[in-house]
Symmetry: C2
Subunit: 467 residues, 2 copies
Amino acid sequence: MKDTQHLYGAILAGGSGTRLWPISRELYPKQLLKLLGDKTLIQQTFARLKKLIPVENLYIVTNEKFATDIFLQLKSYGLVRENILIEPSQRNTAPAIGFAAAKIHKRDPEATLLLCPSDHIVKPAAAFARDVEAAYPHAKKGKIVTFGIVPRQPSTEYGYIQPKSRSKGVVAVQAFHEKPDAITAENYINDGYFWNSGIFMMRTATILQEINQYLPKLDKALTLLDTTRPFAHFEKKYDALPADSIDEAILEKSDKVSVIAATFNWQDLGSWRVLHELTSKDKKGNALNEHAIELACENSLIYGTNNRVVAAIGMCDAIIVDTEDAVLVAHRDETHQIKDVFNQLKAAGKSQHLEHRTSFRPWGSYTILEEGPNYKVKKLVVNPGAKLSLQMHHKRSEHWIVTRGTAKATVDRDTRYLDQHHSVDIPVGAKHRLENPANTPLEIIEVQNGEYLGEDDIVRFEDKYDR
Amino acid sequence: MKDTQHLYGAILAGGSGTRLWPISRELYPKQLLKLLGDKTLIQQTFARLKKLIPVENLYIVTNEKFATDIFLQLKSYGLVRENILIEPSQRNTAPAIGFAAAKIHKRDPEATLLLCPSDHIVKPAAAFARDVEAAYPHAKKGKIVTFGIVPRQPSTEYGYIQPKSRSKGVVAVQAFHEKPDAITAENYINDGYFWNSGIFMMRTATILQEINQYLPKLDKALTLLDTTRPFAHFEKKYDALPADSIDEAILEKSDKVSVIAATFNWQDLGSWRVLHELTSKDKKGNALNEHAIELACENSLIYGTNNRVVAAIGMCDAIIVDTEDAVLVAHRDETHQIKDVFNQLKAAGKSQHLEHRTSFRPWGSYTILEEGPNYKVKKLVVNPGAKLSLQMHHKRSEHWIVTRGTAKATVDRDTRYLDQHHSVDIPVGAKHRLENPANTPLEIIEVQNGEYLGEDDIVRFEDKYDR
């Protein structure tokens, strides 16, 4: 694309993924997962935008919970750390988009902004680029251009966009419609309606003007915002804003909204059912991975996990997903009830809705192997050359045993190199640091002891990753 | 019962449990499991016989793999260690029963022997006692008295016994019949046939005489056997014996076989389907445990496991059984295919068919938390007052960290007491011993390092449990 100096992109990545539990978790939603292919959904989205838009103009709008994981995933794609915009709290899309638009507008009053969800499949990239290019001049002229998907079937799972006419190109929007029933959906298709992809594009000046007209509270907040500082400083005022969605609060009201018929393929991976549909299957319609054993099953998705076995016998239309600490067994048509499972786990004080046993960090990853009263056992994998922060814990002692590679361990003034099987004690209150000085991965078993073992009992003195 | 001086019992406990995988494993079959109630099936069986027969007259016939676990389970019931008869190899029931009968006959030529499978449910104990009492005089007079179960339905899953007449009491047997088809089963019931419970009773002199008549090879082997020594000395000759079942080789041929109509309830827990039928269920027909979450399910068995969650949505007639390292999801009518899963796991070199992550030992238990190249992480739970053997490993070093309680650790000539968080190294080749000197459980994390980490790399110098 030419003339991209004033073109900006913002990826909306604040959604939490209940619908693909147990592989998505409250702290690890579907945009962070490799669902189809070897890149995560947010990596796919970022790579797609990067082909059109200068990387320094690309923003992520998310919240505190996901910011570190997103940066870890997109660092190598060139994401600028300051371009991760963190909502002070979750107040739906209108405040998030308003804040992002205000921030970018301050930087460049001529900005045109392309907004994309982080967790959709859009292919091929060339078709997407062509459509954005076609929409761009209209956006520059003051339109809010939405991307409409030509329906593949009368789906009851998506919202619809009704164009004013059946002309080609960019046309004005007559109305937006919520998820319809089956008969209505059929009519919508016959009348040439589009699915609403959630992708849209406009000048920051345009959206701020519409916010001024339709969302006075948000507008007032934006005038008080200091866009040179992290949004966190605005927490109290942000919390007080109504939780409006951009669709209902602006797109359905504004007379500037247009739609372009997308030429790309689009999929919202909103349920296990959809994922099963999009995955390659055997002759019996089963999607399996290498940890699954299947006998006499049909039309089922069966995913196992490392170090475990999932065996399915005689199941039809089943979704079976096994993870390190939870397994889901559901009929394909009933996966919408996962939300209830999520809520039951939350109410019972479990952790399986919240996070995985394995968490990723800038230096590698850790897996919780075992927890009990006053102790926790973790396996740490430290990447070659990586080092954890120089840190201290008030309430726990730690004990490290190397099981692979070589560790450089610092405990107060003592630094030593530990090979496989060697161990070191870290008393409560000792300043310590773990490094991998070698060019092969380092694995250690960490046994923590103490009355309180939360991740937040950590004082960081120095951190390669600026945490 | 009176006059029990010459009454003996033998529990046949050599069967391996594929059909209740994943809770039963090749090394931990169903007789060792608590399937219904708070005692394992073999404990229930032993307790039932102990009410009728002097405990020093009770024998277990099993193989090397299960002997330790069986002794652990029955020690507190008074089982005499020497009364565990270990088959040199698995050669079906005729050789096993022949050896046991020969051993007991040598001890007491007047012996009458009651033979029972180890993994059936028999209730109430009083009815069982009454039936045994009724059969006893007939056995003493030279009959082989089988216990027939009055069929509850025309089952195709059991063998049938055809009595010569419909008279009450102990009557001669006309014939034995294999598992029939449904129509034949219906006819069998109308003709007054019984299910074959696998329980029978006769003088050791009687069965040895029938072996002499019908199984010449076994008979010859028995004449050469030194019954004062463990059967292991006879391994080569035992291996060469034909793998005959006692039913086919003797009961179906002998003219001394009678049947008594049992007044007890009898269940062979031969499949998940049967277990589901016998378990208490909610109004929707679901049998659940506390680790299961169920939404919109019907007629299903859903068992979760500690530290994990199993969530089932919209499933009907499903068997869902989750364990530490494997999960089964099967239609109730298809669980006979579990054997194929078992074989696939075996062929793939996995461990999930063979054993659980947690194993029991005389001193407590251990759980494998993590395994990798050249290392293994275990959690050990040592009972109050218990001690592991004084031992040494040729190929691995070990590292112990106490996470609960107090350990007494001996490494070569050094003995020390370790509280929570304290650790000790055990180099390759060091004589070492772990004890729990306290009256609360001891828990330690053991990290093993070495090129070979098999359980058989152990040299025992001294063992409280005579291993």
